[in-house]
Subunit: 297 residues, 2 copies
């Protein structure tokens, strides 16, 4: 693993729009709306993790780009739909007007649908290029399978659905964890697993990174909950205090700030433990963990 976070991110930023299949000019607005949200300065954490895991497992990073783009398309569609008036009704995302504020609700729904479809279109297009290389083809089938599961009704959509359904109630700790694990953790974990499958992971590596991803993915959301309380608008690209204004269920609202910090640190320690045996080569992942720790102090 020779690349930094910024180098992986640079690769993704350069290819994220190129990888969208060429569409008819009659669908220009759809394309513009998709591009708008894809270009609005995301951290690219999911695709970076995918590429880094592929790299770590000895895979070819450049050949993993369609999968990296796919998880970012899926993440971006979920943000567009989440921001809709019928859902979280947010006007601001990453410091810019949300998709529906610019293109209207109908086009926002369709650009989300378009991004989700495009994710699987470029994955399947990529697969057709490996019809004569069965080893590579099988890696792609496994990678797609974890992405599809992580994005779907046993992953991200499940979490968002439980979140929406419970937004008016104070939820149990168990339900809050279910929401966070699925809404945020599932696609992060899927991105990491897909990256590994595109390389040559052994079973132990899969197990270790599964444990890493479970803890890191949940930590990512707990950190977000904390940041909403202590953060400022420049760092977050959205208004701090939005969650509590919306009476959102968060780790902080349910358990208080101190307990949320404790949970976060425990999760991050667990994540580090999970990859401790790769210490010499897994610096990239350890750095990510520690960045999340610092970020919230």
């Amino acid at each position: 693993m020779e690349r930094t976070f910024e180098e992986y991110k640079g690769l993704i930023d350069r290819h994220l729009l190129d990888l969208i299949p060429a569409i008819d000019t009659k669908s220009n607005t759809l394309y513009e709306a998709m591009k708008y949200s894809l270009s609005s300065g995301g951290k690219r954490i999911r695709p970076v993790l995918l590429l880094a895991c592929c790299d770590f497992a000895g895979g070819n990073v450049l050949e993993a780009l369609p999968f990296a783009a796919a998880v970012e398309y899926i993440h971006t569609y979920s943000l567009i739909h989440d921001d809709l008036p019928a859902m979280d009704n947010d006007d601001l995302r990453r410091g810019k007007p949300t998709n529906h504020k610019v293109y209207g609700d109908a086009m926002a729904i369709l650009s989300g649908d378009g991004l989700l479809s495009t994710a699987f279109e470029i994955i399947s297009r990529d697969m057709t290029m490996y019809m004569d290389d069965v080893t590579q083809l099988k890696k792609r089938v496994r990678a797609m399978n974890v992405i599809a599961k992580g994005a779907g009704i046993r992953g991200m959509v499940a979490g968002q659905s439980a979140d929406i359904e419970n937004e008016k109630n104070r939820v149990s700790s168990e339900m809050l964890e279910y929401i966070h694990v699925n809404k945020t953790g599932a696609l992060i974990k899927a991105s990491m697993m897909a990256g590994l499958y595109l390389g040559e992971p052994d079973d132990k590596m899969i197990d270790n990174f599964t444990q890493f991803a479970d803890n890191f993915g949940l930590a990512f959301q707990v950190s977000d909950d904390i940041l909403d309380v202590i953060g400022d608008v420049k760092v977050m690209g959205k208004n701090p205090g939005q969650d509590s204004k919306d009476n959102k269920n968060t780790y902080v609202s349910l358990n208080g700030l101190d307990q949320a910090y404790e949970t976060l640190n425990m999760l991050l320690d667990n994540a580090l433990d999970a990859i401790s045996e790769y210490y010499d080569n897994a610096e990239f992942f350890a750095d990510l963990v520690n960045k999340l720790r610092v970020r919230d102090k």
Copy 2:
């Protein structure tokens, strides 16, 4: 090809819900909302065509069921999203309240997202079962690829987007054809091609059925436009005259009823021509064509 339309449809109806991966009880509402729209009496034309084409090309119909279910999930998600207040704002679909009238806008958006995700989840899950049968695996990659393309931003989503964008304008004949070909035709065509790929088609069969599908898919929408003017609510499951009340662009509104009939008949004749050499074995498809003709008189 030994089965009738009703027999293929029976297979699909029996397995459409079974094939949804088991989800956590915390996501029950999401599952209920998906089930509601899947169970509301669709004609199942797309999955039936997929199975029939698979059968015609010598494939195993039962093994094609996950793909048949997938195209019906995709079709159903598109209806749920199209019916939303932000889109066509329809209260009635197949004679029942639309998804958002029952479950609210947020859950309707999510159940659509869930169905689209599930389509690709069950396709990828199916693929993982053929890791040791490369011939079957490759067929599935090809089938998925045409489905993903037909459903996405060069297919169904493109058509819906162009439709929404032009709903306030009188469109050109070229734009109307673009809308219909993509919004309705693309997924019908993709279903047929996916079915063939799951069998053992030769290049000629692919060419002939491509031509059949191009004509049949467009005819299907022209027939729908005509039915909206002449039909009754019992046959249609929605209120006739809805399109003209909504000032929708249709073949009838643009060209008049007589011209629409003429276009329909031309398309159906072309469809029949395309498969004329299979006359003895392609009765199933010829019947479908003629049913569409009768349906609109």
